[in-house]
Symmetry: C2
Subunit: 236 residues, 2 copies
DNA sequence: AAAGATATAGACCAAAAGATTAACACAATG
DNA sequence: CATTGTGTTAATCTTTTGGTCTATATCTTT
């Protein structure tokens, strides 16, 4: 079988530090399997280059003046091209790492890391993987767990701590459900095929059980206690 | 300087598969730096052993009948001892990894991984670090980003899409802020030292600007558009 | 100086919300 | 079987809310 020419991956660099920029370009050129199709010292220029050259991967410095790296990631992904972003940073700022990964960075490496690790990271990302060096993923997870600690604490004690919503009857929950959509009593009455006054009675009972005095407070209680829209919730 | 005796770390194993349990115990005994203080084939027994022996670390199988591993982690952390949990699993189920890490597991390793890696993971965790093998952290991050993708999509277009809240004047925001607490017009009037009719005027303007017809809807709009309680929100 | 936006507030009316009381059904309990 | 309790239904009455219109004072911008 004839050996195929491996197509070089197109890489684009964005870093406000030109020294560093040139250094990486040199490194990647020497490595030989990459084709640095463009370099930019700010995001605006970088975005244009991305549109022009459609690189496979962008190495994006996180710590830049004016537009910061996070904004850059968002804008790159808004281009809706198949460009992977590998974040570069001088510091292992957990919050920055967390947010970068959250908005879709495919990896995050420190500038202080060995060239070999950078190369490896780029390759992993190009292969569709997500790469965070152990040191950074460790930082990430600390931050991640800390972010959820409070929520977890609630969850842990959540079994003992009474959720007033549990005291509502089925019918009352139905009514509350509709209230949380900003529907009037009349509207609720129509939806449930009962009279408006009946709805009021239910609502009054709801108020008492939730220990609130009006619908706004009831709706707030419902939302804050897992009645709806629990995206990131853990049920155990 | 005299060499001190290194105190062996106390390890406790919980796994419903006795074969595997014995295997790990053997491995750790051979290694020599660990002291396996107890083994259990279910969580209930395991919890008692933890209370009794106060191990430094617990290797906890995630895939167990009756109580699953996640529940186990929660219950262990509820003991409020300084016990680190290293999750063990036969599969690299992204959801399981995500949830385990979220509720505080200090690490997650696959049973299929080499012994050396298990030893290393245990040591890292004992040293206060959080350890996820590259393969698993990769899975984790895929899941993590997927979880946020929807939210990100909103965020990305969030700049163009107008947030009606921006049209509110400062005073109107103050009023809305109070409305979201379920305070009556009279109450708002008192808090802001203005007349009740003025509050009504503001509220009316708010309704028009937010394109809603009543306070409940206004409050819901406010909450859904970043007016308050944005725990896990990313601002960019 | 004029125009525009903002904060203030009164009057009036209609609609909705909230409090109180009560009837009916049904299940559990003594 | 009577009783007690709970849940659903509903009417009446009072308070709050919301709509509309008008109006004044202040402040900024043109």
């Amino acid at each position: 079988m004839r050996r195929e020419f491996k197509k070089k991956s197109k890489v684009l660099l964005i870093d406000d530090n030109y020294e560093h920029l040139a250094g990486i370009r040199e490194l990647l050129n020497i490595e030989g399997t990459f084709d640095v199709v463009g370099i930019a010292t700010n995001i605006t220029v970088g975005l244009n280059l991305i549109k022009k050259y459609q690189p496979d991967i962008v190495l994006l410095d996180m710590n830049m003046p004016e537009k910061d790296g996070l904004q850059g990631i968002l804008e790159i992904s808004k281009l809706d091209l198949d460009v992977k972003v590998l974040a570069l940073s001088g510091y292992d700022d957990a919050d920055l790492i967390f947010r970068a990964m959250k908005i879709g960075a495919k990896g995050y490496v420190l500038k202080t890391m060995a060239s070999a690790q950078l190369i490896y990271a780029i390759e992993e990302v190009l292969n569709g993987k997500i790469y965070l060096p152990l040191a950074l993923s460790s930082r990430f997870f600390e931050y991640f767990q800390q972010t959820f600690r409070e929520e977890n604490a609630k969850q842990e004690t959540g079994e003992e701590e009474e959720n007033l919503l549990d005291y509502l009857t089925q019918r009352e929950k139905e009514v509350l459900e509709l209230l949380t959509q900003g529907i009037t009593y009349k509207g609720v009455a129509n939806k449930l095929f009962i009279s408006e006054t009946t709805v009021k009675t239910h609502v009054n009972n709801i108020f008492q059980k939730l220990q609130v005095n009006d619908r706004t407070q009831a709706v707030l209680y419902a939302i804050n206690n897992g009645f709806l829209s629990n995206k990131m919730r853990i049920s155990a």
